[in-house]
Symmetry: C2
Subunit: 464 residues, 2 copies
């Protein structure tokens, strides 16, 4: 479905690529690991200076708790539509490089190899910052200049769950006001289809702790001293049945029901259960093979409950005969749009109490992220999809609700705008892992897609 | 209930004490840690030489797999009964000294402090070897000499579960033939009552492993990829209900029913649930408070199932969103007399299969120990009790079936003899822990009790 215009932007992206790769190289060189408080101010300053160097305005907001948030602004050109504004959401922080010894080139030195660019953050998310800045620069050099206003929100805590972003969005809602938003990421799937995402999940992450005694007891006393590991196993079993059905009363209640359009979009997504089993070496049947549900529908719209870890008692080699003093499980609820983490927490507490586990403590590790879904019928969503279809030869998928998390709700609900995510990754980008990479061809396509999108967006009627 | 004879042996034990403490010091100096293969031959040789030095005969059996077993023999004296033989079962191996830094004196240097002797193995079990040898020596110096034949079986793998003892007992059954056996250990409880034990538990120790995938998966896929931790939690929950009732069909079937005499003996044992809760800082009610059962009866006669540990997925600090690839639990069955570990293993396997967990692997870590209970009406059991009652001023308890494990079945069933355990420990002896100790007064009482017991045993009619 490629168009002449798309081809033109693909050619132009070749010119823009040197700028993108320079910006990316300079950003990768700053090890801005939020979890380790490394080089955060340097990375924020770099983004600000880059916006300014390309002719934009930029500010660093750092008057609230948390890492600074960079505001960037490029005004519409003389031939553009000054009433239309597109906002890019990105982040300058990255994941730690560990295990460092598994990198084939230094994680903080951008390295080209076999048509790919390697380095921490090239896929998540510095490559997209570079591509977007390069696309803006490209458009500014065209006759008529930038077709609309462009804003950037570049935060520094995405990799640690954006715990402080919402207050910044609230305080600077006017600065960041826009008609629509392009989210940080996107990647091509195993069939080279470009993945667009119009919604993300909320997250509640907990530790469940069952304490039995001050210290481990000899299992001689197993006939009368209660066992926290078994007790926690019973409590976890009461939360979810072996087929994956959550048994917590009210758990799904506030989940926003999918629209027919969303259901239709989800049913168009590829899903190959056998391929997944082979790829990951799965020993067990898929839960959805037992329940008969559509895994794509479950993944998009059901609130999910997952035990991420468990520990208690003796787990070294050999036999040690004891009654554990304590057991702990990590449990996450991946929430659908419409659900409040606090409410789910209350339901879990009530469930445990009702089942006689009022002694089991719940420690909250993360209760700040809510789910969000853009309205698929919004013209902006359609525009992102149609431009992507023009540009990406192997097709496009539109996921109404990706199971991943992010502060999409914080922006979407406060700024009241549709949000779609797209980006320059591919299925082998190894986000968060050693040898993170993007393919040069994808980076160029990403620049071209943003340019095409902005050129069309400038012509759309304002909705906000 | 002290007798003149008991008082006489208590006085005589003062003379025997220097020999006992010398033997003990020399044994403690040999770090014969079976789990670490340290100094095993030296310890076996030392025991052999000690028996010989005291006028006995000794052999080291080492023609079968496992650490050598020492055979010792002292013939009845001219005034003794050469038709009667008492066997002592002991072990020369000890637990590791770790954590070494918590010892207040070197673990392998016998140290006297505040009326106690400190060192690895003083309580478990070198102190009892020393006390018994000193008692034999004491009797040999009396007019008429040793009142009966005395044999020693001193093995070197008790602390690792005596995995190779049974074949030695079978091969050398004639050498070790005796009329009765005194087992390795015994200790005074919090009320200074001397604890006698007439039975031990069997043990089956397993790892249950549930494998889901080659590696951890992102919890994005939690809607359709099955979770081994939750699956194992369900499987464990199916084995035992929250009140401690084992749900495995047939689990209790082969357990030898207690005799009225055994039940009566168990009901005479002290048990203070509130004191136990305070002592160990228990947060939860005792299982027997929920079930209404007698904890002493459960502990003595029911087969017990305990989850000793569990691990799977992410258990570090903070939140990591994943589906664990694998989960593992350590599970022990503490078996009643009459039960075969292999049969219990089959029942567990069948239970898991029947409940749909045929994918859960069972790894056997220990399936060699069976439970054993001596006949409480046996004159030897009565003799050990009555002599202890004469000697110990604060009373005696007789436990028909201690919940601990040991190779009692291997001796009792093959050699066909009654077995009672008694020894020189106290509730603060810290077996297996740093600062293991015995009280000097208990050591002297232990020598006196063995001397009194042997002097009476020589006069009893032979039963075998």
């Amino acid at each position: 479905m490629s168009s002449k215009e798309a081809d033109r932007w693909l050619q132009a992206a070749e010119e823009a690529y040197p700028l993108a790769v320079r910006l990316l190289g300079e950003m990768v060189a700053i090890p801005s690991v939020a979890a380790q408080h490394r080089e955060i101010p340097a990375a924020a300053s770099y983004v600000k200076r880059s916006v300014e160097a390309l002719g934009g305005e930029a500010l660093i907001y750092d008057d609230l708790p948390g890492n600074p948030v960079v505001y960037g602004f490029f005004a519409a050109g003389p031939g553009g539509d000054a009433d239309r504004t597109l906002l890019f959401y990105n982040h300058y922080d990255v994941q730690p490089e560990e295990p460092a010894e598994e990198w084939e080139s230094p994680p903080f030195a951008l390295t080209e190899r076999e048509g790919k660019l390697f380095g921490r953050g090239v896929g998540d998310n510095k490559g997209d910052i570079a591509a977007r800045l390069a696309a803006v620069d490209l458009l500014r050099r065209q006759p008529g200049g930038l077709p609309c206003n462009v804003k950037f929100m570049v935060e520094g805590e995405e990799e640690i769950g954006s715990p402080n972003l919402a207050p910044y969005v609230a305080r600077y809602a006017e600065s960041f006001a826009a008609d629509a938003c392009i989210w940080e990421f996107g990647y091509k799937d195993e069939g080279e289809r470009q993945g667009l995402v119009a919604g993300l999940r909320g997250l509640l992450y907990l530790e469940l702790v069952c304490k039995g005694a001050d210290q481990d007891q000899h299992s001689l006393a197993g006939g009368y001293i209660d066992n926290p590991v078994l007790r926690l196993a019973h409590a976890l079993s009461s939360l979810k049945d072996p087929n994956g059905e959550v048994l917590v009363a009210g758990f799904h209640d506030d989940a926003q029901a999918p629209t027919p359009e969303e259901l239709e979009a989800v049913r168009q997504l590829p899903f190959d259960g056998e391929a997944i089993k082979r790829l990951y070496g799965l020993r067990l049947p898929l839960l959805t093979e037992r329940s008969g549900k559509d895994p794509r529908v479950v993944t998009a719209f059901e609130s999910l409950l997952t035990v991420c870890g468990i520990q208690g008692g003796y787990t070294g080699s050999g036999a040690k005969t004891l009654i554990p003093s304590e057991a702990m499980a990590k449990v996450e609820a991946r929430l659908a749009a419409g659900q409040e983490p606090q409410r789910i927490l209350e339901l879990l507490r009530a469930h445990l109490d009702r089942h006689g586990y009022d002694d089991i403590q719940i420690r909250v590790l993360n209760d700040r992220q809510r789910g969000f879904r853009s309205d698929l019928s919004d013209p902006f969503v359609q525009l992102v999809r149609s431009t992507a279809e023009e540009l990406y030869p192997d097709g496009v998928t539109l996921t109404p609700s990706h199971p991943g998390c992010g502060p999409m709700y914080d922006l979407g609900s406060v700024l009241q705008l549709p949000i779609v995510s797209t980006g320059i990754g591919w299925i082998g980008s190894r986000y968060h892992a050693p040898n993170e990479n993007v393919r040069i061809a994808d980076l160029k396509q990403g620049i071209a897609h943003i340019a095409l999108l902005l050129s069309r967006f400038g012509g759309q009627p304002s909705t906000n």
